[in-house]
Amino acid sequence: MPGYSDPGFDTLALHAGASPDPATGARATPIHLTTSFVFESSDHAASLFNLERGGHVYSRISNPTNAVLEQRVAALEGGVGAIATASGQAALHLAIATLMGAGSHIVASTALYGGSQNLLHYTLSRFGIETTFVKPGDIDGWRAAVRPTTKLFFGETVGNPGLDVLDIPTVSAIAHEAGVPLLVDSTLTSPWLIKPFEHGADLVYHSATKFLSGHGTVVGGIVVDGGSFDWDGPKSAGKFAELTQPYDGFHNMVFTEESTVGAFLLRARREGLRDFGACMSPHTAWLILQGIETLPLRMAQHMRNTEKVVEFLATQPFVSRVGHPMLESHGSHALAQKLLPRGAGSVFSFDLKGNREQGKKFIETLKVFSHLANVGDCRSLVIHPASTTHFRMSDEALAGAGISQGTIRLSIGLEDADDLIDDLKRALKAAEKAGA
């Protein structure tokens, strides 16, 4: 039974990582806008630099406000700890750069956010890290893509925007058989809908810009370590020298000896934040904390509204497809029922029967939905992926991600569902007329 010593999700969303400020009594988490923290003595300074004592030195590496956010998200995900970053993309890069260098290989889902696809396909290949893309449901494909140099499996809980549900238990089992961890982008689901660690994932990250923040105000990311992966286990032996061998760049520390369950986080903070520097502003961390306080309430409303909007769109003659796993017609329906019983998210796509111009008319007629490049806002949003978020992808890659030229992506917000449906109704009518 949840209680004071074993609080439930809603309580953790408010209290994990935070207690009244001992210096002032402030109940809300203070924003520690300071670059640096005064040492008590030379010995204290040396001890902090050498990880002999816990504490803060410089806000690029850690900050008390950020630490509250990190504890809170780790608590909600069921992880051992977390690192807040400048953006979701920075969190993804931090995870990858901590685990591998040139000559390494990643197996990734085809159904990824366009920015992640760019990073893996174009940018990381420039630094000698190759990626093989596999359709998330192609289980044999995941297995076949493994190479001796493979260091990571990577996918999204629900692919953006087709909502292909990643079969985390099966894909993680294949990853573990190959001696590598599974990294999951859980941005679109948040820990309220799924906790990927409970299903076998090893690392989770979020674009905290989206549901965690929830108000479309700040850009941030966070990577969480489940603490479960055996970096020097029998199947992974020799693969992760970054964590299992002395690191010249930090006191010859062997991170797996230093921490049995947090080696990844130690290196990511001590090297990745130190050297790449993609840290989060404490002000951003504070705003994301504000958002997380209402995450359970917001997610419930997101899902209630999504259900109504999906049901509406599914009955519209001018709509040829609605891509949400709550519908039996969706390829991930059964898997979603199993892994995402509270729902598969409020970001989804649908196809208009009309041409490109009708699609344009549809978007421009909407009044409540805002046309912009974001998801997970409390306000409802709309975008045309093929010409925006995924525009660098080839037609073939687009098809692989479940996107056509007529695909419209919605992010359902917290407005009255009737108002959203009314807005969509008018836009559909206008789009239909535009083709007459």
Partner: protein, 272 residues
């Protein structure tokens, strides 16, 4: 580093410093379903402040091979063998929970070879509820959760072993799962609890001590409440031992929820 003890390779974390037999030595002994890493914010400091640190993984736990101790007495015998194998004539012993019983029994047996004894989160008798002992065997995940819930005293630990942003509860669960998984022959969770529960030699061991003893107790500890250590404290005082007390403002996760207070308590005590 690994040291061969009784034919088993025993892992000893040395705090990032090479083992130097010329320095005074302190041995850190973990509790049930833990390993050396629970001492991260005490052992590394001591290693960099003049001490030779051996923070061990008990036999059959994580990085150490060998047969996991089935009794406190077996654990104490192992500590003696470890010191012999490491070439350490005299050492301080620091133990947490089950490790505190092993440290106390070893100190009683090794007498003048032990310079200091630190008992963190200790109790005697260290009775474990029958339901928890049973769950440790039949449903370890549930039992681990119970232990971590009982051990926790805060939802907002200070910067802890993995650094700022550590969720101590999650770290405790992950470590427990990993230690349990590390031994496929024996359920070290159940074995450790049975060893705690069945140990009867506490007061006799205390009477045999020749070194000063520090009790570092968590004021909110639900696993080993301070009152459960009072009998040992009284026995030590009655026998004229040098007794020190440290009241730590946390539960049973003394090293990770109050890393600084725990460090200072043992640092100051070992400096005597």
């Amino acid at each position: 580093m690994h040291i061969q003890v009784n034919g088993a390779a025993i892992y000893c974390y040395t705090g990032g410093k090479a083992f130097d037999a010329a320095k005074p030595t302190v041995v850190f002994i973990h509790g049930v379903l833990n390993d050396h890493s629970v001492w991260a914010l005490q052992s590394r400091y001591m290693a960099n402040h003049g001490w030779n640190v051996l923070a061990i993984d008990l036999p059959g736990h994580c990085r150490s091979s060998g047969e996991a101790p089935a009794t406190v007495e077996q654990g104490a015998d192992f500590i003696g063998a470890l010191l012999d194998a490491a070439g350490v004539q005299r050492a301080a012993l620091v133990g947490h929970s089950w490790g505190s019983l092993i440290a106390m029994e070893a100190a009683a047996r090794l007498k003048d070879r032990i310079s200091h004894l630190v008992l963190v989160g200790t109790a005697f008798p260290m009775k474990v509820s029958p339901a928890l002992i049973e769950a440790s065997q039949t449903d370890p995940e549930k039992a681990m959760r119970m232990v971590n819930v009982f051990s926790r005293s805060t939802l907002s630990a200070p910067p802890s072993a993995l650094g700022p942003g550590t969720w101590v509860f999650g770290a405790g669960m992950a470590l427990g799962r990993k230690v349990l998984r590390s031994n496929t022959a024996v359920n070290v969770f159940h074995r450790g609890f049975v060893a705690c529960d069945s140990y009867t030699g506490g007061e006799a061991a205390m009477a045999q001590l020749t070194c000063p003893v520090l009790f570092a107790l968590g004021s909110q500890d639900q696993m080993t409440p301070p009152r459960a250590a009072q009998g040992l404290v009284n026995a030590a005082r009655a026998a004229g031992k040098s007794v020190s007390m440290a009241n730590l403002p946390v539960g049973h996760n003394q090293m990770t929820e109050a890393p600084e207070e725990t460090l200072f308590a043992l640092r100051d005590f070992l400096a005597r």
